[in-house]
Amino acid sequence: MPIALYRIDDRLIHGQVVVGWGQPLDLGFILLVDDAVAESDWEQELYRLGVPPSMDVYFASTSEAAREIAKYASDRRTGMVLTGTVEAMLQLARTAVLPIKAVNVGGIHHREDRTQKMRYVFLTKGEEQDLRSMAELGVVVTAQDVPSAPSHSLEELLRGCMT
């Protein structure tokens, strides 16, 4: 089954991911793509404890995920690919052996060098450019924190949209 959602969320696994998207999508697994977490057994154990028993969590570095994405996409269960940064998702979009058709910007929170674009999205200039680069690769980039919320196009996101 194709991956149901490619999501950028700097909180990684949390309530919106596990419950907000996990339940309506009937997620069977999450592929958490993060170089630091992929190196830390302790962090992996922490995230495994945070999901229901019916859901698996797999961990991969960005390069591992790019190489092995077809294996996850052929899983009969519904899956989500989750990165904590725009940069990691762009790298995945550029190098994955399967094309990524759409990316959901789910949560990038306040930081000193970021500008607020939406209630749940703050971006640096570099992250804005990375999202544009993703779109130039043919990826449909939208912002949406939870399934019941409206989905906003990349243009709306970059312009700023406080809904």
Binding site: R11, H14, G15, L49, G50, H109, H110, R111
Partner: protein, 130 residues
């Protein structure tokens, strides 16, 4: 607010829930200042963790109550716990659990008072049908 009640725990979670829980504890017991609310609204992973660290240091407490076991506040609290010996993280917090906690003797070891609170929280969940 009872001025003799010192902070004993952080209540961390989603949206207005931490404030709401502490407000309810205050309304029922007058001991709301035993609990410090901390919401994750608008905060990224690193900020939730640093916010918790700051509050724990500021108030000198060693207990964090969180709402969802798989929520960002719980993950942040567990990360803090990883390098903070003695810190206790209680997930699935409820009003019943907090009320028991604030009435426990402040001298009681935190492990004991949180274990009692967990039991009270569990016992308060019921499905009633007529």
């Amino acid at each position: 607010m009872d001025p003799d009640v010192a902070p004993r725990a952080i209540v961390a979670g989603h949206g207005a829930l931490p404030d709401g829980l502490v407000s309810a504890v205050e309304q029922i017991t007058g001991r709301g200042n035993a609990l410090i609310p901390f919401s994750n609204v608008g905060l990224g992973r690193a900020e939730i963790e640093s916010g918790l660290r700051d509050l724990l240091a500021l108030h000198g407490v060693n207990v964090v109550f969180t709402d969802l076991p798989g929520g960002s506040a719980t993950f942040a609290a567990r990360r803090v716990q990883h390098d903070t010996p003695g810190l206790i993280v209680v997930t699935g917090v409820s009003l019943a659990a907090l009320m028991d906690f604030v009435f426990c003797d402040a001298e009681m070891p935190a492990g004991e008072s949180t274990a009692r609170a967990v039991e009270k929280g569990r016992a308060a969940i019921a499905s009633v049908a007529i």
